[in-house]
Symmetry: C2
Subunit: 332 residues, 2 copies
Amino acid sequence: MNALLDVTAIGNAIVDVIAPANESFLGDEGLAKGAMILIDEARATDLYGRMAASLEASGGSAANTIAGVANLGGRAAFIGKVAKDELGEIYAHDIRAVGARFDTEPLIGGPATARCLINVTSDGQRTMCTYLGACVELTAADVSPELIEGAQIVFLEGYLFDPIEARLAFAKAAGLARASGRKIALSLSDSFVVERHRAALLGFIEGQVDILLANESEITALFETASFDEALREIRKRVEIAALTRGAQGSVVLAAGSEHTLAADPIDRIVDTTGAGDQYAAGFLFGLAAGHPLEVCGGLGSLAAAEVIGHYGPRPATSLRALATSRGLIAA
Amino acid sequence: MNALLDVTAIGNAIVDVIAPANESFLGDEGLAKGAMILIDEARATDLYGRMAASLEASGGSAANTIAGVANLGGRAAFIGKVAKDELGEIYAHDIRAVGARFDTEPLIGGPATARCLINVTSDGQRTMCTYLGACVELTAADVSPELIEGAQIVFLEGYLFDPIEARLAFAKAAGLARASGRKIALSLSDSFVVERHRAALLGFIEGQVDILLANESEITALFETASFDEALREIRKRVEIAALTRGAQGSVVLAAGSEHTLAADPIDRIVDTTGAGDQYAAGFLFGLAAGHPLEVCGGLGSLAAAEVIGHYGPRPATSLRALATSRGLIAA
């Protein structure tokens, strides 16, 4: 079936505010390293006031993935809610500048564009505090049938289980995708999201999801097991394809009757791990949409993840397509 | 004479919008590589729409220098005009987060916070288009006598010769500094600024400036000569100290009866030269205020410039103080 787009994603539209931090700062602020927590506006203002000087960059998990897909040469679209403010304009610019479609109407007269306060420790780990702002106003009405029905893969982020209206948008998108014979991919996003919404996520996965992306802590949290192997066996029963990342240990790609274990790409220097999972998803989904074998999809994911870890910011800073062709992963 | 502050700077308060670009983009947009031009709001919107996805970071030449001075452990303050908007709040956060004082009242009901659209080519060169926004509303009333009279060195950026009101602020600051026996330092900022305001700059230098910072193209533009050596002879007659940078060729520091030629610090990889001159100034002025010999001041400048060239963004991404102590330039 012809598709106008390779991947359409729905996600929280968030500007990242990225600052270096030391371990004691995390302790003083009561932040668990590596996690994402939701905070309200007052806490965001308060925490920001104590953070170091920062860089700002468009982020949001699924949107980062879309930026990666477009960077690889894929046809991509994003659905997410910003406010009509300065950061919202920057956000829209950045997602369109990579060549992705972004038509969601900005919110007028409500909360500001969302921001994620990211404290990056010297080991490159990121600890995230998200003020959802305008994201909580994403509704089913924002889910454009054209963008869902026209995409080979519809990609949803687990973070959308937090704002209640977004879950309805999620359900609408899944219904449209299913009815059009499109594949549905889901990222589990974060182990705390999995803890908060385990039953709903499992139900959604079993009922709707074709392709699951998760890291080790998320997939083991989903099945409440300490064993990665057990989690593999559980997820394999429930989805067609699963791509599971394990940080420096690489990734495992599962499908009916096959299992590929991939090494992580070598990295000179870990600067900021923000976006690593998002970019793995970008490479993997781009590869799937282009019809590549699963091990090539995983290789594209590893390549994209390794690139983004080497610099601040959650999106590619160079041409992933050029990198991937120079490695022989895709044809020039 | 005791001073509360090491360096107080007055400058344009500008948020940098940093995007990768290729050479043909510069050509298509009619931009001369490496230069800074002023643009109006309409052109800024238009150009931004065609730029690649970007990072945002607080910038502004003199403010970058202040961030570097504070990072080195110096007591520093900045005077500059932002608007009361989202980017203005980010700007104020960033300059205060490095430990600098920043008390200038934000502008209400006028133009937005200034932004500099920076296109960075793969050779690391930056080409800048600045929309001055709220900066044109900086006036003499914003020049707090306390911050000027309390600083060992008052640092002014040549860019301030563009907004006319700022020139009056400049003059007020110089008068206060002179009356309090403080040193006045000036950066020439950009060779196009020198072309636009040569006579006024020369008059100011001859009448008021103790310490001049410039790069090779700026100092030769000032004296309308192709010869760096001739420019050296000319500037030496006019100021007490001059620190002149020459990119990869290092720098020359001149004072009465002395001349130091310094090599540039080795750099692994040139990512983005934005802020290189500003950080040289930071190291140099911090060193002067701390009473170090001129060759150490130049060494601190070279170290700070080399750090900022290795990453995106115009301000230090690491502790310059730790770097400088590890090299034995300053005591731990």
